[in-house]
C-alpha cells in the first residue's frame, strides 16, 4: 500500500522532529506515567466487571443470598460496582493532576515556545 498521500504540506507547520521529541526522557517518562496507570487500572475494572457479570449470569443462588433484611449479595456487589467506578475516577483525576499535567505542560511549553 502506498503511503504517499498522507503527507500533506500542512504536516510541516509544526516544524518539529516528532520522533526526536518522542525519544526525549521527559516524554518517555510522561508516557510511562500514563500507561503504567491506565492499562493496569483498565484491566482491573474490566476483570471486576466481568466477574460481577458472570456471577449475576451463572451464580443466581449465591447472588440471591440475603445479607441483612431484603438486601442480598447481588445488590451489594452491584452497588460496589458503582463505588469502584467512583473510586477509580477519583484516583485517576488525582494521578493526572499530580503526575501527568505538570509534565505535559512543561513539554507543551517547550515545544510551543520553540516553535514561535
Amino acid at each position: 500500500m502506498s503511503t504517499s498521500e498522507q503527507h500533506s504540506p500542512a504536516d510541516a507547520q509544526g516544524n518539529h522532529n516528532w520522533v526526536d521529541v518522542q525519544n526525549t526522557p521527559d516524554f518517555r517518562e510522561l508516557r510511562r506515567r500514563l500507561r503504567t496507570f491506565v492499562f493496569p487500572m483498565a484491566g482491573l475494572f474490566l476483570a471486576w466487571y466481568l466477574l460481577y457479570v458472570l456471577l449475576a449470569d451463572y451464580a443466581h443462588g449465591f447472588m440471591s443470598t440475603k445479607v441483612f433484611g431484603n438486601i442480598n449479595v447481588g445488590l451489594i456487589l452491584g452497588l460496589l460496582q458503582f463505588v469502584s467506578t467512583f473510586v477509580i475516577t477519583t484516583l485517576y483525576v488525582r494521578h493526572a493532576n499530580k503526575k501527568l499535567d505538570p509534565l505535559a505542560e512543561k513539554l507543551r511549553n517547550e515545544l510551543e515556545g520553540g516553535q514561535a
Partner: protein, 528 residues
C-alpha cells in the same frame, strides 16, 4: 392516565418554547465551522459533563431501565451497571487523547496517521450507521411514548407527533448548531436528574428511608415474580442461550459507550484536554447518581403501582416511571415527568443528528470530496446544515415506518457496532505504534459487517413471536446480541489487517503520540 393529555402537552410546550429561546440566543455567536460543529470549544468541563449526561441518558435509560427493574427486578439493574462502568474506558483511555488530536469528528483521530480518504470514508460510514440506528430507535420510541403520555393511540396521530418531534429537532440543529444543542442537553439533563431525584426521595420517604422495606414491599406486590425480583435471572436466566446472550450484551454495553460518535464529539466542545477530563468526571457522577435513582424508581414502581397495572398500561414496561409519578404526585407530576421524557427524546435526537451531519460535512465533504482544501470554510457549515435536514427527514420517515416494531434491538445494534467497529480502531490508533491504514479499514468495515450480519441472522429479526419478521425464520445465529463474537473478531481483523500490510509511518505516529499526550497544537477555543 386519561384526560391529562392537555396538561402534558402544555408543560412540554413550555419546555420547547424555553429551549428555543436559549438556542436562538446561543446561536448569535455562531460564525465559523468550529462554532457550528464544536460550539467554539467554549463550554467548561462541568457544563459539558452535564450535557454528556443529557446525551447519554436517553428515554431508553430513563423509562426503559426503570420499567425493566419494575418488571424484571435485578436484571434491569444489570443494564445500568454496564452503562456506568463503560465510562471508565472513556475517562482512562479515550477522552483526553481524542480531544488533543482531533477537530470535530471521530474520523479526525482515526485518520490522523493513516491515508486520509479511505479511513475517513470508513469512519464516516460507521459514524452514520451507529447514529442512524440510535436515531431510528429514539424516533420509533417516540411513537410508543406518545401513545402512553398523550393518549394518542391511532397510528396516524402518532405519525404526526413523530413528524413534529423531527421538525423541532431539525430546528434546534439548524439554528443552534452544537452550541444550541449542548444547551438543550444541559437543560434537559438538569430537569431529568432533578425530577428523578425528587421522585426517588419521595419513594424512599414512603418507606421510612429504608431500602430493605421498599424491596420487601416490591416483592409482596409482585406475587408472580416474588423473591426472584431481588436476584438475577428473571429476564436472562432461563436457558444457556439466554445467559450467553446476557454476557454478550454486557460486553457490548461496557465497550460500546466509548465508541459512540455522538459522545466522542462532545469532547471537542471544551477548550482543553483537562476540561475534557473534568467533563467525563462530571458525567460519571451524574450518570451514576441517576442510575441509583432508577433502582429506587423501578422497585418503587413495583411496590406502589404493581407489575400487573404496568403491564396492562399502553407502553408496557416503559410506563412504569410515569405511572409511579402519577401515583406519587398526581396529574401534575405525571405531566412534568412526561414532558421530561419528551424533552429527552428531542435532545438525544438533536445530538445524534448534529453528529451524523458533522461527520458528513467534515469527513466526507471537506476532506474527501474537497481533499481538505475547501475554498471557504462556510461551505462546511452549509453542507452540515443541509445534511441535518436530510437526516431529519429520513429519520422522521424511518421512525414512522418503524413505529410499533420491536426496536429494542436497534439500540443493542448501535452499541454492538460502536464496540466492534469503533472502539478497537480507536484504541489501536491511539496506543499501537504498528497500526496502519489497512488495519483501520479491516477493523471498521469488518466490525460493521460482522455485527450487522449477525443481527440480521439473529432471533431479534426473524423466527420468534417477538421478532421483527415473525413468519419467516432465517435466524442462524442464536443470540440477539452479537458482541461476544463481533468484538473479538473486530480486534483480530484490525490486527491481521495491520500485520499483512507493510505500511507503517513512524514519524506520523510520533507526532500523534506527542500531540495526544502533551496537547501541543491542539485546537483552541475560538474567541469572539
Amino acid at each position: 392516565m386519561n384526560g391529562n393529555a392537555l396538561l402534558n402537552i402544555g408543560i412540554f410546550g413550555i419546555f420547547v418554547a424555553a429551549t428555543l429561546v436559549v438556542v436562538i440566543r446561543a446561536s448569535r455567536n455562531t460564525k465559523t465551522a468550529a462554532d457550528y460543529l464544536a460550539a467554539g470549544r467554549s463550554f467548561t468541563g462541568p457544563q459539558n459533563g452535564v450535557a454528556i449526561a443529557g446525551d447519554y441518558l436517553s428515554a431508553a435509560s430513563f423509562l426503559g431501565i426503570a420499567g425493566a427493574i419494575a418488571l424484571n427486578g435485578y436484571d434491569g439493574f444489570l443494564y445500568s451497571i454496564g452503562f456506568l462502568v463503560a465510562w471508565l474506558i472513556a475517562l482512562l483511555l479515550v477522552a483526553e487523547l481524542l480531544r488533543n488530536t482531533g477537530k470535530y469528528t471521530m474520523g479526525d483521530v482515526l485518520s490522523f496517521r493513516m491515508r486520509q480518504r479511505p479511513v475517513r470514508a470508513a469512519a464516516a460510514t460507521s459514524t452514520m450507521a451507529v447514529s442512524f440506528f440510535y436515531l431510528l430507535a429514539q424516533m420509533a420510541g417516540a411513537g410508543g411514548l406518545v401513545a402512553l403520555l398523550l393518549n394518542i393511540t391511532g397510528k396516524f396521530g402518532q405519525a404526526i407527533v413523530i413528524a413534529v418531534v423531527g421538525a423541532l429537532m431539525i430546528a434546534y440543529v439548524l439554528i443552534g448548531g452544537m452550541k444550541g444543542t449542548t444547551w438543550v442537553q444541559i437543560i434537559k439533563a438538569v430537569l431529568l436528574i432533578v425530577g428523578a431525584g425528587v421522585m426517588t426521595l419521595w419513594v424512599l420517604a414512603k418507606f421510612g428511608l429504608n431500602l430493605s422495606s421498599l424491596l420487601g414491599s416490591a416483592v409482596e406486590n409482585a406475587p408472580k415474580a416474588g423473591e426472584k425480583l431481588l436476584g438475577p435471572g428473571l429476564q436472562y436466566g432461563a436457558t444457556g442461550t439466554s445467559k450467553l446472550d446476557f454476557l454478550s450484551l454486557a460486553l457490548a454495553l461496557v465497550l460500546g459507550t466509548a465508541g459512540l460518535p455522538h459522545i466522542l464529539m462532545r469532547f471537542y466542545t471544551v477548550p482543553t484536554a483537562k476540561e475534557a477530563r473534568r467533563s467525563v468526571v462530571w458525567a460519571i457522577w451524574l450518570i451514576g447518581l441517576f442510575y441509583l435513582f432508577t433502582l429506587v424508581l423501578g422497585y418503587g414502581a413495583a411496590a406502589l403501582v404493581g407489575p400487573d397495572k404496568i403491564r396492562a398500561a399502553p407502553g408496557g414496561a416503559n410506563s412504569a416511571a410515569p405511572l409511579l409519578a402519577e401515583a406519587l404526585g398526581g396529574p401534575l407530576l405525571l405531566g412534568l415527568i412526561a414532558a421530561v421524557a419528551f424533552a429527552t427524546i428531542l435532545a438525544v435526537v438533536a445530538g445524534l443528528t448534529i453528529t451524523a451531519s458533522a461527520s458528513f460535512a467534515h469527513d466526507i465533504y471537506a476532506n474527501i470530496i474537497k481533499k481538505g482544501e475547501a475554498e471557504d470554510k462556510d461551505a462546511e457549515v452549509k453542507v452540515a446544515r443541509r445534511t441535518a435536514i436530510v437526516i431529519g427527514i429520513v429519520s422522521i420517515l424511518g421512525g414512522i415506518a418503524a413505529n410499533g416494531q420491536n426496536i429494542a434491538f436497534l439500540v443493542a445494534l448501535a452499541f454492538a457496532v460502536a464496540a466492534s467497529a469503533n472502539l478497537p480502531t480507536i484504541l489501536y490508533s491511539l496506543f499501537w505504534k504498528r497500526f496502519n491504514t489497512s488495519g483501520a479499514l479491516w477493523s471498521i468495515y469488518g466490525g460493521l459487517v460482522v455485527t450487522i450480519t449477525l443481527i440480521v441472522l439473529s432471533p431479534a429479526v426473524s423466527g420468534k413471536p417477538t421478532s421483527m419478521f415473525k413468519n419467516v425464520d432465517f435466524a442462524l445465529f442464536p443470540l440477539s446480541n452479537p458482541g461476544i463474537v463481533s468484538i473479538p473478531v473486530a480486534f483480530l481483523l484490525g490486527y491481521l489487517g495491520t500485520v499483512l500490510s507493510k505500511e507503517n509511518d513512524k514519524a506520523k505516529y510520533a507526532e500523534m503520540e506527542v500531540r495526544a499526550l502533551t496537547g501541543v497544537g491542539a485546537e483552541k477555543a475560538t474567541v469572539h
